[in-house]
Assembly symmetry: C2
Homo-oligomer: 320 residues x 2
């Protein structure tokens, strides 16, 4: 049985994983989820990326939106607003609230996030082993430029959701990452993997944050198995989200080739770019990373599964 | 301006207060609310009696039910159940959850319950000053007889809501009361009162618990102003709820006269019984408590207002 480890952010990672499960139904898939997006709202611990993976693979996701629950209602949020309690810009529905209430209650009772995530997954049965990258608190902050030329750091969610990445980002800082440890099971999963995949998640604030947990980047680079990624940039623009904005903050061009070079040959063995970026293949291969151009638009589960098959095929190829 | 202090439990207290506001629109009313019913559910602090007063006076109450919010939905609770997280026997609706989330967040931020209650009331504008009896944790437990003849203590809500008072109660213990202090403002309100009222709330687990906070009973007894109560027992049965069960646990008969004697002449100056209990008047007066028989069924706000007027009239009479 093939053991696949996937480093995943939110929507892009979750949709890719759904394709991967279809493409490799017999594989043992371990997902190392980004928790740098986690935020405390209303006294509750919210883990957007873990939940997006869990809901998507468990059949509870709001399909069009890509995050949050299907058939969602917003009574609690309306009532909180009636108390004057915000933020109003973060969309927490009633069904979603229940997840955060259970999580917060368990954390308050002393369970680490990894145990909480496992408990939540007993309901959702995502068909993968979902591990947070760390049980420690890591919070991605973005240094933005304010109107008067000053800079200040805001929580990633404030930058992403409230400001919609509309102000210049000058730096991305995974606060707490240096002191964090990989969650139980993370390093073992990487060491035991047959292949490691980077889905088309955000290379800075999703996969970059996971790799910022001391030990994870080294484990991936030293696993001695193929590491294959899929470009989240298609035709010089992010497939979804605003990855170009945070790429700019770390000085990386928003091109499929630049992202591959950003990961680097020491980490990445193979890289898939979209067919519209086939001109980038040579550039990526010059950087020592095997590269193929294939369709990378996850228009449905079938398209995501085809991408996963291409990634596994490229992994087999670099291994040979 | 007449200053009225009311010791109140949940539904009965709240409905009486609505009548009192109508009967004495210019009075300055301070409510000392029972918090012995408070319970931590799903990691959230729930204050059923305070909320019932707040929702009832603020226009948000579920009118027929007497507790909880009007137009309530139960999405969060259903989702918690889907996670296998209970208890299912406690009816927390989505609107209600928001109150508990705000309260728990504020308590987590270091605010005492009295400050939290004041903040919640800025939304509800109950038209009274609502104070919890204490900012300390007091939790009413009921010693029940289990099937095998053993006894165990359960939280009051478990006894009342889950078991529906269907098992024999052998004792009622306000755990933590001895170590508690009256909340800020409570003793000052009592000392400054022109009249103190006991609404037809449960004499054991509502008013009895408030009086169990060290200093409150002494302040009421020593205020030197009329203290008038209304019987929650009409025709030898509780008007609502299961007050007879907890009265039995403390060895008090479920009659209007027995409840008056339970409070005692040292505390109570006047007592209203229902017209069906007019035979009890003489017995109560023999115990040194002025007594009148008047209609005590709070069928609507008008009836509750008439009861409040009778209570204030009796207070004026005992003072004269």
């Amino acid at each position: 049985m093939q053991r696949i480890v996937v480093l995943a952010g939110g929507i892009g990672g979750a949709r890719f994983l759904r394709g991967l499960k279809a493409a490799a139904p017999d594989a043992e898939i371990t997902v190392i989820g980004n928790t740098g997006d986690d935020i405390h709202l209303f006294g509750l611990k919210v883990c957007p990326d873990l939940d997006t993976v869990m809901y998507t693979l468990g059949g509870g996701i709001h399909e069009e939106q890509g995050w949050g629950r299907a058939d969602e209602t917003f009574t609690v949020k309306e009532e909180l607003a009636a108390y004057g309690v915000g933020p109003e810009w973060f969309g927490l529905g009633d069904r979603d609230f229940a997840t955060h209430i259970v999580r917060t209650q368990m954390i308050g009772a002393g369970y680490p996030l990894s145990a909480v995530t496992e408990a939540l997954c007993t309901r959702w049965q995502p068909g993968v082993r979902l591990l947070p990258m760390t049980d420690d608190r890591v919070e991605t902050h973005v240094v933005i430029e304010t109107g008067d030329g000053d800079r200040r750091a805001v929580h990633f969610q404030e930058y992403w959701v409230r400001l919609r990445a509309s102000v210049p980002a000058r730096a991305v800082v995974p606060v707490g990452a240096e002191q964090s440890k990989p969650a139980p099971g993370v390093l073992d999963a990487i060491a035991g993997a047959d292949v490691i995949l980077f889905p088309p998640s955000n290379p800075v604030v999703s996969i970059g944050t996971i790799l910022a947990v001391p030990g994870i980047r080294e484990a991936v680079a030293g696993a001695g198995v193929p590491v294959v990624g899929l470009s989240p940039i298609v035709g010089n623009a992010p497939v979804r989200g605003m990855a170009d904005k945070v790429l700019a903050a770390v000085g990386v061009e928003a091109t499929a080739a630049a992202v591959a070079r950003h990961y680097g040959q020491g980490l990445l063995d193979g890289w898939l770019v979209d067919t519209v970026d086939s001109a980038a293949v040579a550039e990526v291969e010059e950087a020592g990373i095997r590269c193929r151009a294939v369709p990378l638009m996850m228009t449905d589960v079938g398209a995501a599964a085809a991408m996963a098959r291409e990634a596994l095929a490229l992994a087999a190829e670099v291994q040979a």
